[in-house]
């Protein structure tokens, strides 16, 4: 099974994982790591490396990071090539929920990363506009 690490500034990652668990049940194989402002970068990289190694059961590790260009994502990118991992940024709750049903079947790390990106983006909409369009069409 592909391993998953949720990575964020502060406690966002663990809160997302916990919230997702309340909605869909436990997400096996997913763990969270918080990056604090006071952590030296080298330290964060070291801890992430350990967690990635522990999470990798042979099929690689998907890192979901809170934002593109943020420290969490940048540290994860340092590991690309040294470990079998993909980094997807802009992590949101729909992506984490999707993990619960996609991890069991996912065998290809790159495909899983693309699926979650697609699903995460698909959930960002101006919902009130969609509703107005529907009400006008009706």
């Amino acid at each position: 099974m592909i391993g998953v690490v949720l990575l964020s500034h502060g406690h966002l990652a663990e809160a997302l994982l916990q919230t997702a668990t309340e909605i869909v049940g436990p997400i096996e194989g997913a763990t969270s790591l918080a990056v604090s402002r006071s952590d030296p970068l080298r330290e964060v990289e070291h801890r992430l490396t350990q967690i990635v190694q522990r999470s990798d059961q042979g099929s690689g590790v998907l890192v979901l990071a809170d934002m593109f260009g943020g420290t969490a994502a940048n540290v994860a990118l340092e590991l690309v090539g040294r470990h079998r991992l993909e980094v997807v940024t802009g992590m949101n709750l729909p992506m984490v929920l999707k993990l619960s049903t996609s991890l069991d079947d996912a065998t290809e790390l790159g495909a899983l990363a693309q699926l979650l990106k697609f699903y995460g983006q698909r959930n960002v909409v101006v919902a009130s506009e969609l509703l107005k369009e529907r009400e006008q069409d009706a």
């Binding site: 049940g25 436990p26 918080a34 604090s36 350990q50 619960s100 529907r134 009706a138």
Partner: protein, 264 residues
């Protein structure tokens, strides 16, 4: 004949249904059996949108459910309350199994499960359904065991067996924070005792350590071997029930210098 599942859940189309039950039951449509929703165009639009085109969403009055379910894709029928289920049954629908998946704590209901509250009226109606041959159970999430609705809480067998339980009960895996030792004497015996005592009361696993060396925080002996002095940082890992709340508690304990206060 399509395979049909019945669930009471007044949230109707929402995150748990779309992300947990639809994939679990492999249904192609959601049938909302609710007279009020059927008469409320905005509510229908919102629920329809919420399915994000992943399944069909249909609306019907409960009394007409039987006809609607004779053909078409496998379906999950959603009721807002037990009243709607009764209306469907009175309309001639045979309900083999009914999952009371969610009922909020209102109208004098009391908790039968954190997500399922039943009042005297619900209980009376559900008992009637059971007498008429419906197997009634409570199962908020697919990973939860289906429970008997009355009497001693016990698991009941239902037609869709639940998935194998995760290896350890967890709040979505392992949670970690890095916490600093702030009290003057560091993690000496007394402080370690306070920490081990607090960890011992937590139902989740708690591990503390540095680099690759993690020890069980419930073990005083393990903690004292860490030799963590003031100013050093420790990784704290929790896993299992109540993990995140435990992490908050542990963070407060570290910040309080294990009740000794921050050193000068």
């Amino acid at each position: 004949m399509p395979e049909v599942y019945f669930r009471v859940d007044p949230r109707l189309v929402h995150a748990t249904v779309m992300n947990a039950w639809v994939p679990e039951l492999e249904v192609g449509r959601l049938v909302i059996a609710d007279a009020k929703v059927l008469a409320d165009p905005r509510r229908r639009h919102i629920l329809h949108m919420s399915a994000m085109d992943e399944v069909e969403v249909e609306f019907v009055v409960p009394a007409r459910l039987g006809l609607r379910l004779k053909e078409g894709a496998d379906a999950l029928v959603l009721f807002s309350d037990v009243d709607s289920v009764m209306a469907a049954a009175e309309g001639g629908l045979a309900i083999d199994e009914l999952n009371v998946g969610h009922l909020p704590a209102t109208d004098g209901r009391s908790a039968r499960h954190p997500a399922v509250h039943l009042g005297p009226r619900d209980v009376g109606q559900l008992e009637r359904l059971q007498k008429e041959g419906t197997r009634v159970y409570l199962q908020p999430l697919p990973n939860d065991p289906p429970l008997a609705p009355f009497g001693i809480p016990r698991p009941v067998a239902v037609k869709r067996p639940r998935r194998p339980a995760p290896r350890s009960p967890s709040e979505g895996g392992v949670h970690r924070r890095r916490l600093q030792i702030v009290n003057e004497r560091g993690l000496h015996l007394r402080a370690a005792h306070v920490l081990a005592h607090a960890a011992g009361k937590m139902s989740c696993e708690v591990r503390v350590g540095r680099n690759e060396r993690m020890v069980n925080a419930k073990s005083l002996l393990g903690l004292t071997t860490l030799g963590a002095a003031r100013g050093s940082w420790l990784d704290v890992e929790v896993e299992g029930p109540g993990a995140v709340g435990a992490l908050d508690e542990l963070e407060a304990l570290f910040e309080s210098g294990f009740t000794e206060g921050a050193g000068p």
